[in-house]
């Protein structure tokens, strides 16, 4: 527990550090690109631009994220720091086609 508190300032500091940004679009209820490679152990910012005329919900249990994106809107999602691995996500409103994965490495 003590260790955790000692780490706290660094964790907070890392939250202030500049984030690497990644862009992704939703078009015809699909993510483009559907696969994004990001650096592991570092916080990143994912900007999702919904170019469809209908709302979508970005949802990922693995990433612990859930965000409704209005038609035409850009949504920012802060992710990580992620351990190396595969993190699938879906568009909950069009689960059949809207599927993607973030690969942290």
């Amino acid at each position: 527990m003590k260790k955790l508190f000692a780490l706290l300032p660094f964790i907070c500091l890392s939250a202030w550090a500049a984030d690497t940004e990644f862009a992704m679009a939703i078009r015809d209820h699909r993510f483009e690109p559907a696969e994004i490679r990001v650096p592991a152990n570092q916080k990143i910012k994912l900007v999702v631009h919904n170019q469809d005329s209908t709302p979508e919900e970005f949802e990922s249990h693995a990433l612990n994220r859930e965000k409704v994106i209005a038609p035409g809107a850009k949504a920012s999602l802060f992710l990580g720091p992620l351990k190396p691995g595969r993190y699938p996500f879906i568009g909950e409103f069009h689960e059949k086609t809207a599927r993607g994965v973030i690969i942290a490495e």
Binding site: I11, E57, H61, A62, E66, I69, A70, G72, A73, F93
Partner: protein, 274 residues
């Protein structure tokens, strides 16, 4: 049709589980049904408004409006549940006794009911606005006919409500002497679950650090995407891959409410709860 049935079922189920716990916990209060119906109606109207303004809400606070809004709703609902449990720890036994005599609970029951009706409204607001957006998307996307979307929605709604009613009927069968402990236990876990979800939205908004994400991974045992995983997520806040801060919020809420319940308890009338 199947798509709308599944999504509406999921969202209805989540709201229905919360409503049934509240309906059980307030079963002795006067005018309960009126309050519950009021909460449900307010929630439904609110959902449509939130769905209409989704884009505007999302743009607030440099693009994290939606997260702050959700965290606010969940935090408020958790606070109301906490207050209910602490209030019941003090007045519950007294209330039950008075109710048997001559409906003495009238005055105190009103404030109590209004707080819980609000939780019902907030629960519906969250699930309902998502459902409205989804159905609107299906219709305006021209992928399905109106009849198919509404038909699927109706099926999902009926099954979701039935599951909620099942939980309600199930808790009512708990023997009378365990009833108080059972309902306050369920409300306690519900409040902790909401606090943990609020923390998740605050991490998503980059307001709080995640402190380790995930802290553990139990999706091999029970995945959050499964039906059981979803039900337990709503009822007790189960997360297969929680962040450290969620666990901290969950634990802190449990400890604070339990401490509050213990502090206010009137000794002679206190029930022997563990």
């Amino acid at each position: 049709m199947l798509g709308s049935a599944i999504i509406v079922f999921r969202e209805t189920l989540e709201a229905a589980l919360i409503i049934s716990i509240i309906a059980v916990a307030t079963r002795t209060l006067r005018k309960r049904n009126t309050w519950l119906i009021g909460g449900i109606s307010a929630g439904v109207c609110g959902s449509v408004l939130v769905a209409l303004f989704t884009g505007k809400i999302a743009e607030l606070a440099q693009g994290v409006g939606q997260e702050l809004f959700n965290a606010g709703i969940l935090g408020l609902a958790a606070a109301m549940l906490a207050w209910h449990n602490i209030w019941m720890a003090r007045h519950g036994m007294q209330l039950a006794r008075d109710a048997k005599q001559l409906g003495q609970e009238v005055t105190s029951g009103t404030r109590e009911m209004s707080a819980l009706a609000m939780v019902v409204g907030l629960a519906i607001l969250r699930e309902g606005s998502e459902t409205a957006l989804f159905l609107y998307g299906l219709l305006s996307g021209g992928e399905e006919t109106l009849a198919s979307v509404l038909g699927g929605g109706a099926i999902g709604f009926i099954f979701g409500s039935l599951a909620g009613y099942g939980l309600y009927a199930g808790i009512l069968r708990v023997p009378a002497r365990h009833f108080f402990a059972a309902t306050s236990g369920l409300i306690l876990l519900l409040a902790a679950a909401m606090a943990s979800q609020a923390a998740r939205f605050l991490v998503q908004a980059d307001v709080l650090p995640s402190l380790a994400s995930p802290l553990w991974n139990s999706s091999w045992l029970l995945d959050n995407a499964s039906l059981t995983g979803r039900v337990l997520h709503t009822l007790i806040g189960y997360e297969a891959m929680p962040s450290g801060i969620q666990v901290a919020f969950y634990t802190a809420t449990l400890v604070l409410i339990l401490a509050g319940m213990r502090l206010v308890r009137i000794q002679p009338t206190s029930p022997a709860t563990p």
